[in-house]
């Protein structure tokens, strides 16, 4: 049975890397609209991959994607003009790492409940803090982003971070760190007794993925002509990342990305025309997924593959019996 999973996994990952190559060339042949869509796709692929690397195996579900993304955005907004873009990205990563470490220290030693609650509140807290900060410093909220960063540079930078995240997610699966995270998700006490420093691993990986999210935010900032805290820290971004991961299925390393493309297409097509009904449908979809298909699309696919495998082995066994029967009959 294990080889069915192996094969399914390697096919999926091969497809993703191929897809990334195609995306790399998109700016050359794609229309402006298509490139815009690819940017959206790359950003969500990056966010979903980063989110799943921590929340997938450990089952600590972070609702703070929007918060870290927002941190990245505002680092570029404030420092974009003054320091080189790469420095912006580095500062964003460092700041998010710091914030995530504090969140981790405060909650990850307790039950998962505190962690989810805290991350839920984080983006709202940051949104209001930046609102106050801007009001105080510049007398008015909302900033125009002027950064010497052409669209093409932005695209390739975004492609870069997404590729790095995909590669690390792929490598994580069979790595020591990957096993530590899965062990923590299954039974923290047993993991600790096997020698895993549970707190350090949880906080470290959570902070690393948080800084990756901030990097995505920092890179994307120039795309918004005009930035408001409500847009940068919009809680629906956390919601969509969780939904994409759940739709794809978090029990497999390749699962979450499966959920990204369909939802993004739905978003592009419906959100503009009827935003509120669309959000209602998404809420319903998440509820249905959790109740009736926790394994998500990849879970269902694997179920189908496994049943097909069983039927194939069953058929082989029957044929073998008939042969055996025939031989003994002759012997």
């Amino acid at each position: 049975m294990a080889d069915v999973r192996e094969r399914g996994e390697s096919i999926a990952w091969a497809a993703y890397f191929l897809g990334m190559l195609v995306l790399l060339t998109a700016p050359r042949w794609g229309s402006a609209y298509l490139v815009g869509f690819c940017v959206e796709l790359l950003s969500y692929m990056a966010l979903v991959t980063a989110w799943t690397m921590f929340s997938g195996p450990t089952r600590y579900f972070s609702l703070a994607t929007a918060a870290f993304f927002g941190i990245g955005t505002y680092v570029t907004v404030y420092l974009g003009g003054r320091i080189p873009v790469l420095a912006c990205v580095a500062v964003a990563a460092a700041l998010a790492y710091l914030v995530a470490s504090v969140v981790g220290l405060a909650t990850l030693r307790l039950s998962g409940l505190y962690f989810v609650m805290f991350t839920f509140g984080l983006s709202e807290f940051l949104r209001q803090f930046v609102l106050w900060f801007e009001g105080r410093l510049f007398r008015k909220v909302g900033r125009i982003v002027s950064v010497p960063f052409s669209d093409l540079d932005l695209y390739y930078a975004l492609w870069g971070i997404t590729a790095v995240l995909l590669l690390s997610a792929f490598l994580l699966r069979r790595s020591r760190l990957g096993y530590a995270l899965r062990a923590i998700g299954e039974d923290e006490l047993a993991a600790a007794h096997a020698g895993v420093n549970v707190s350090r691993v949880k906080i470290g990986v959570f902070a690393a993925t948080a800084s990756a999210m901030a990097v995505v935010g920092a890179i994307l900032a120039p795309r918004w002509a005009y930035v408001l805290p409500d847009m940068a820290f919009d809680p629906t971004r956390s919601f969509q990342v969780v939904l994409m991961a759940m739709l794809g299925g978090i029990r497999h390393s390749y699962g979450p990305l499966l959920g990204t493309i369909p939802l993004l297409l739905l978003y592009e097509w419906l959100y503009a025309r009827y935003p509120y009904p669309f959000m209602f449908v998404l809420g319903l979809l998440l509820a249905v997924l959790i109740l009736y298909a926790p394994g998500g699309v990849s879970g269902m696919m694997e179920g189908i593959l496994q049943r097909a495998e069983e039927r194939r082995q069953e058929a082989m066994r029957i044929r073998a019996e008939e042969l055996g029967h025939v031989e003994s009959g002759e012997g």
Binding site: A2, R174, S175, R176, Y179, A180, R182, A183, E186, D187, L189, A190, A191, A192, H193, A194, G195, V196, N197, V198, R251
Partner: protein, 240 residues
Amino acid sequence: MLEVRGVSRRFGGLEALVGVDLVAQAGQVVAVIGPNGSGKTTLLNVISGVLTPDAGTVRWEGRDITGWPPHRVAHLGIGRTFQRPRIMETMTVRENIGLGFLFRARGLPVPQAMAMAQEVGEEVGLGDRLDVPAGDLTYIDQKRLELARALAGDPRLLLLDEWLAGLTEGELQVGLELLRRLRAQGKAVVLVEHVMSAVRAIADRVVVLHAGRKILEGEPEEVLKHPEVVATYLGQDTGC
């Protein structure tokens, strides 16, 4: 050498452990017996770092490890199994055992750790099911898997919590044989157990706990015949 001195721990009104001492030398099997609720598992939790004692000290190989977290205690070469086996159900048997090799003090790289798991798997009788998901194993095999994971951590002290419970006669002999081999390798074993025939067969020393206190210690034969021990188990006929 393990030295537990005057360890006490309470939960609200309940005194789980009161001034308990325990010594276990290398190459020695110390059985800890006593009726349910006598504090046996709490004692293991204090040694392995799950609980910090209210009083008393835990010393291992000359070093005071009282209150150390479980992962640092594990790195000092102390392995542990639990009353209800705690295994990683979605990982295969090989991967479960590999965790021990991965995260012990001098952890091995992944391929090597998974390869080494083969040998330890065979030693506990799981050699033929290395690629089965651990969730599919029976209760007894899961207990074996837990021991294998502990052994992978190259321990010099093993804390076994009712590891021999629920075994048939044949399985029991296999288990005892394995414990004898571990003792011969110089490992110290603290065995919390109820199966008296096993205690009689393998224990070098027996410690008896009752309601959180150590009421007796000594050779198995002598202890198991002692009136007070018989009373705690079969109950005193204090008239009714």
